[in-house]
């Protein structure tokens, strides 16, 4: 919410400008960096998509969703299976997004009746269910062996750039949707739901429909990004695709940046990916422990997110 306040002070005209500048920095990475830098930029874009997606349900609607890993995993498998069945790559990504949106719309009415801890558990179990399904439905998913996805033909430079721009396109779509939601009826209604769901119903907010909309929005871009990721790395396995780590990391990114705002998820995801890259490079053995320590420190020292810091300095 502090993030939202900062967004307001930035003004509705300043907001797309800052986000746009950030997109340009990412898009120009092939000009100022090697393929490693481009890979990092692609990851920043990927996590930006996931963080913006989570923000619909977790930030605006205030529901502690841990379903991100399920959406990404489902998208990755759906895309890979479609592609291996001969569907052109980009069409496969679109199909993956539609499939994930459909599953989110079907699961939404069940798990969105839950609140608080029960919702958290229900959404996290979607990740486990996906992982168990992917491991055991060998005919379709290759089981524990995983699934190979046909590589895109072309040199490493071309592939690196292709997937950077693919992720950026998805990021732009997610960002545009976020801005539209933030300014529109849906965003306003979701904020009402986050602050007092009963009162929201009472002023006429159709809370069930709005929550399902937020849940579907939080799935659809994850589905596309998951499918694109599968095409990028060329191989997926159940535990990596349906990742509990991912499902918790993404909300952490949004909390880091400030939930319920447009810029918060972008800032948080970029900060954590860059931090992780620098940590990863140095302490491979303790990578996870350090990330864990960062999360713990974040909870204690940054309750309002990075955007909150600025506000505290000013006041």
């Amino acid at each position: 919410m502090i993030g939202a306040a900062v967004s307001r002070t930035l003004g509705s005209r300043g907001l797309p400008w800052v986000a746009g500048l950030w997109l340009v920095v990412l898009a120009l990475s092939p000009l100022y960096g090697d393929n490693y830098i481009v890979k990092i930029a692609t990851f920043v874009a990927l996590y930006g998509v996931l963080a913006l997606s989570w923000n619909f349900i977790g930030g605006y609607a205030g529901y502690p969703s841990f379903a991100t890993g399920a959406f990404v995993g489902l998208g990755a498998y759906a895309g890979a299976i479609c592609q291996n069945a001969g569907v052109p790559m980009i069409v496969a990504w679109l199909l993956a997004a539609i499939i994930v949106a459909g599953v989110a719309a079907a699961m939404g009415p069940v798990i969105l009746r839950l609140r608080g801890h029960y919702f958290a558990i229900g959404s996290i179990s979607l990740v486990e269910i996906g992982s168990v399904l992917a491991s055991n439905w060998s005919g379709l998913t290759g089981g524990g062996e995983g699934l190979n996805v046909r590589f895109l033909p072309g040199g490493p430079d071309f592939i690196a750039r292709f997937f950077l721009y693919a992720m950026l396109v998805i990021l732009v779509a997610a960002l545009a949707t976020t801005i539209a939601v933030d300014r529109g009826r849906l965003g306003f209604g979701l904020r009402c739901i986050a602050q007092n769901e009963d009162a929201a119903e009472m002023v006429g907010v159709p809370s069930t429909r709005y929550k399902i909309a937020a849940f579907v929005l939080s799935g659809v871009f994850c589905g596309a990004a998951g499918a694109a990721y599968a095409s990028w790395v060329g191989y997926i396995a159940p535990a990596d695709a349906f990742s509990i780590l991912l499902t918790v990391k993404v909300p952490v990114m949004v909390l880091l940046g400030g939930a319920g705002s447009v810029l918060g998820p972008l800032i948080g995801s970029a900060a954590l990916v860059l931090l992780e890259e620098t940590v990863w490079a140095r302490f491979l053995d303790y990578h996870q422990a350090i990330l864990g320590a960062i999360i713990v420190a974040l909870i204690f020292f940054l309750p309002g997110g990075l955007l909150g810091l600025r506000l505290r300095w000013r006041s």
Partner: protein, 257 residues
């Protein structure tokens, strides 16, 4: 007088507890009706049944002739059936203006957020909260929160407004201010049901009074007549006082208590 709200044999039980039992009444368009009863009589449950918060166990609710028994709260709000909460329920991290704009946008006739905020400013002025419009709702005092609750309901452009204990927790001068406000609301053509246990408020405002006791409708009629009804007196003050009040035959009435 055209009936706006018709309630037929409405019942609600939670497990074995009958909170509301076989309650029937109608509210005419333009009326001001008081709904009274001792604490625990089932008043708030009844309001929850009328606005879709609880699904009735039996009976029918009709609003403007349409069966709305199974409606959800947001549907009630959009139909023009608004209510305030006994315990005020603002959106705490929104400004006062945004709180009221929510009512205008989701249940009222505002087509956009900008229009909703413009309308909201008007309703805030009407309840005397215009100077607080940019404050966060969580920082308001209790009387101001009650006004906010009213402004929010008005912004929903209700046909029927159910005011659940809007005066609870207010002091005498604050109550007088609230009463004047309710009179103005009623004068603007909105049908009002006052849910109260403060007799003074009900008697001074209502054209008609419904008395609820142990989940059942005990009496209904003009305020003075209802107040003289021995059953009503007994429900409020106990059997012994009622016996003295009515001059004797309390034994036969005790079965109501």
């Amino acid at each position: 007088m055209k009936p706006l709200l018709e309630v037929e044999k409405l019942s609600k039980h939670f497990g074995g507890v009958h909170a509301v039992r076989d309650v029937s009444f109608t509210i005419g368009s333009g009326e001001i009706v008081g709904l009274i009863g001792p604490n625990g009589a089932g008043k708030t449950t009844l309001v929850n049944l009328l606005t879709g918060v609880h699904r009735p166990s039996g009976g029918v609710v009709r609003f403007e002739g349409v069966d709305v028994t199974a409606q959800r709260p947001h549907e009630a709000a959009r139909r023009g059936l608004a209510r305030t909460f006994q315990i005020v329920q603002p959106f705490p991290r929104m400004t006062v203006l945004e709180n009221v704009a929510a009512g205008a946008l989701f249940a009222g006739q505002a087509g956009s957020r900008a229009e909703a905020e413009r309308l909201a400013a008007g309703y805030l002025a009407a309840v005397g909260l215009d100077r607080e419009s940019q404050r966060l709702a969580a920082t308001l005092t209790l009387p101001s929160r009650k006004r906010l609750e009213l402004a929010k309901s008005l912004a929903m452009r209700p046909k029927l407004l159910l005011l659940d204990e809007v005066n609870a927790g207010l002091n005498t001068s604050e109550i007088d201010g609230a009463l004047a406000l309710i009179r103005r609301i009623a004068a603007s053509g909105i049908t009002v049901v006052l849910i109260e246990h403060l007799m003074k408020v009900v008697l001074s405002l209502s054209q008609r009074v419904l008395v609820l006791h142990h989940g059942q409708l005990l009496a209904s009629g003009a305020p003075e007549a209802v107040m003289r009804d021995p059953q009503v007196v007994e429900a409020y003050l106990g059997a012994r006082f009622a016996a003295r009040f009515a001059g004797g035959d309390a034994k036969s009435e005790a079965s109501h208590g």
